[in-house]
Symmetry: D2
Subunit: 324 residues, 4 copies
């Protein structure tokens, strides 16, 4: 109700709503289904962004049947980049990536005004849509009312479609279901990346937003098959930075209804996936990228390299499942 009214208000105010012209021809929403790696940001040993290595990674990813790339999701170390770096990375990725692949750019900032500005700068740099993480520093005050208000303002002003992003492991905050359902009515909000992994919640969101053609992406390869089973249409999977072909194959098996084969592949991906996400984090993801022919390299401080013992554990998670 609130969403619709607010949105109408905006339409009346601006004769031509910018996002409508770009993202909503003939009332159709941007199709975001498919698999996306949330790419890592390579750094030089002095911790500057290594744009050349970034280019080389992107070129390789261009050969994998991804729907596109997520630039500056949590795995991109975006909280460690300056605003200028964030925009520049998006621009470089857009240039290096084949035109038929989508660039979904993480534009979330803590403040609404910061998010609006960053979304616009990323759209100008070539992003096809923006992925907006929940603001979280004042999480005690980030109730549905505040979050709906935030996302409505961002979606109203963005010239490209908006994808909601809930990642409680990093933010300590789950975007509430009722807020998501209300936001799903906004024509410029096309979907959600849900990294929490609560499959009951994901099924409920799919169910309650089905009439709005709202698209849900699994935020991790660990529950990708289960998410497809309840109606998700794709995934943003850190593991796809390393085992991109395999994650795409899993998605294809799910979409085509080959559930028994899917289950076997899914199970072999869980441990490597947990290892490069929850367990050892971005340093592990970057290390594994090196093993599989990509540029990973160091993280920016305060993220530290893995210890020798952790490295061994990490390798074992891949080798025991037949990937190394």
């Amino acid at each position: 109700m609130f969403a619709i009214r607010n949105f109408s208000l905006l339409c009346r105010r601006s004769a031509v709503s910018t996002w409508r012209s770009k993202s909503q021809s003939a009332g159709q929403r941007l199709d975001i289904s498919g698999i996306y790696p949330p790419i890592a940001t390579p750094f030089t040993h002095s911790e500057d962004v290594d744009y050349q290595r970034l280019d080389e990674n992107i070129k390789k990813y261009g050969n994998i049947p991804f729907r596109g790339l997520v630039v500056q999701g949590s795995n991109g170390e975006y909280p460690y980049l300056t605003p200028e770096e964030r925009v520049e990375v998006v621009k470089r990725v857009r240039q290096a990536l084949p035109k038929d692949k989508m660039v979904m750019a993480g534009s979330g900032c803590e403040s609404t005004r910061g998010t609006i500005q960053m979304s616009q700068r990323m759209a100008d740099a070539g992003a096809d849509c923006v992925l907006v993480v929940t603001p979280c520093f004042y999480r005690g005050r980030m109730d549905s009312h505040a979050l709906i208000n935030h996302y409505m303002q961002v979606a109203d002003s963005s010239s490209v479609p908006v994808v909601l992003y809930s990642v409680p492991a990093n933010t300590g905050l789950d975007l509430p279901v009722d807020a998501i359902i209300q936001l799903s009515h906004h024509p410029n909000i096309v979907g959600l990346k849900d990294s929490g992994g609560d499959i009951t919640r994901i099924a409920l969101i799919v169910h309650k937003s089905s009439s709005q053609d709202f698209q849900v992406l699994a935020g991790s390869a660990g529950f990708l098959m289960a998410a497809y089973s309840v109606g998700a249409v794709g995934g943003v999977c850190a593991l796809a930075n390393v085992l991109g072909q395999q994650v795409c194959e899993l998605a294809q098996l799910c979409v085509s209804g080959h559930w028994d084969e899917a289950r076997k592949l899914q199970c072999r991906l869980i441990e490597p996936n947990t290892a490069v996400t929850r367990q050892y984090g971005v340093p592990a993801l970057k290390q594994a990228m090196e093993w599989f022919g990509y540029h990973g390299g160091v993280c920016r401080s305060p993220l530290q390299p893995l210890s020798k013992a952790d490295l061994d554990q990490l390798r074992a998670k891949f080798s025991s499942n037949g990937w190394l």
Copy 2:
């Protein structure tokens, strides 16, 4: 390793291992696949166990294609029953239930010796297997080592098969995956009821215990379909006390591979399920039972009846999904 050795030790000690004779003829494990309602315990207005109403509920459940009943899961208010009442309820259920339906009896106590005794008393009262919740009061000390030791002792001594039970919402404790995998080697531990709902975890457990013919049951109707998709073989679902036929139908659709129909049914069950579990708890489950022709009635204090506002919300969760 530890499991096997300990177990062998036991076998050498007792010439005839009791459970082997009963539950393990020809090396096969008891098949626990299928749907179970974890039944509620009806009380009179003075809060005594109402055995007559219990009988009447059981008779009705006998006509639904359940695999069996769970007696004294969390929904049975078992922490509010005396040891004598716990055993007597199991006995009555066994008498009232058709012979082809299984009685899975919750025998968990905080101490190992208490659990061993209760398991034996329940087996004697006719339980086909026992469901053993994680001890949790000293949760800071309940690591894998302590929990493995606990379950090994219980399984070694029990004359009927043991099902592990992890229900973090009530216990504040998740039975660790590594402990589950190690315990899955014990021939008298046949499966796990997992009520946490972390589908990645459930898939991993299925995967890592697959060589042991270990059976995983979803602990809630909210993620039943997703659990089947990753290899679970059934569910213990509070909602089956109310919508038993429908939960069985959902299971059947999953088992037979009718995923699209399953998805539609699953989605309509999520909100009623959440309402009678996490959201409003046992008082809501008992109220909903009344609406659907069963005896629910009051809970023992300190559990309180729902407020009028909560009752209305509860009803809306059923009616908005077409069940009332």
Copy 3:
């Protein structure tokens, strides 16, 4: 308001309210100020209660200026005892303890009716007052309304005064401040043992219950001095099982306003205290008791003995602070 009314109602119903005659002569509440060790329960190697060693510990504690003993607080492994054992231990302690020392007996059960019965049995066995832990299994439903109702029923029926007991580390539940304040009006509820350690909360409870002559006991030696500084009148301190004289000395320094000396002593007690509570739990407490001349011994399973490494750490926490 609710408390008063409910309580009056009871008085009208029963001509002579039992607790009034015993605990409320001349309108005065039982004075519970001072230090109490929440005693451990010694077991034989076959895990039976070792009543002889219990007696010997009690005799030693009789020579320390404690106000009394808490029997079956969390450190007494009460969830591992049968109802009969719980009562018998209280009886033995009462017999072995000098008459001028108080026996505060932990009578909490999950159900209200169970708690009422156990409180009566413990009073009959000689307890001077009962310590009633919050029921917690259905913690999602244990709001102020349910908890107030529970404690009102228990206090109405108990022939000895009731002390509230909030221990979130074990129960996952903090007795809400508003519930405590309302319950403080009940003439048979004389105080609170707060083990959470939130000093702001403790100060607020003291402040808001000051007109009711309600007594707050710190639930741990770690924040004993700070609790005294904001108005607490004593403590139930696991560490007092080991360093009883020192904990009593700290209390005396606080009561007499020797804050600078108190601070020095307090600081040396923090690490040993944390080690025998949060960090290593009851097995560590029992081990440390052995070092200081008491009978500690084994815990009941599933509690496990400390590893060698943990034992060394435990000892270091005492020796580095000059106690060993």
Copy 4:
């Protein structure tokens, strides 16, 4: 060990360690004892920083016996400011504030390099010391090792002293005690603001860092007296934005050993303090500032104004304690 060595290394590298010349003449650390309000940032109705109203607030604060002001603690909405705004606010505060009052500037960023830069810019803008919050986005990787490394780099490079800042309510992360103790050896790390409120932890930190002349500040007025009782030397208290004179009076009573009077005043401050922090957050703080003659005004979005019901509650917390 690590701290000392790393630090020496730095000294050998740079002939004159910049911070030494400024903050460490004659081996003495900067004295940070006393009370600081963590000031709010006033905004215009279009959400721009309102520098004029900021000036007016600062002038008023200049008449209260504060030790100084914290600029851009959590209450300053610093995550919503651009880097330029953060620096400019510090500059303005320094200009408006009497010279004998200290400016402690919050310079924490997620990355180490960002924090180093921001610390330098704030020092250049006139900050007397910097308050560095724990980086937290990748909290799963922020162990002692990573955090020590982060703070060592920041302290090594900063031209003004560094104060550690642990605020788990916002960051989901408690700076570990062992890391604090190790960091307390660094000559350019002079103290800690601890907002968690765990008084046992605060006492332990004071105790274990006492030989380093390390200064602990309570991060909230709710436990200010208790913190003084265990050895803290001051406080950074949101409530001091509103009731500055009273918070300073409480500190004075503690320092001078008037504990009974202190207790009475402390207790009356708890509820208003909780209301403007944990309970209703920065919007409540800014509202209360208006009631007491300061400029509070709106927050930046996504923070929302209080509802009418919350406003009434907030006012009641002040009036029922005699402040309004």
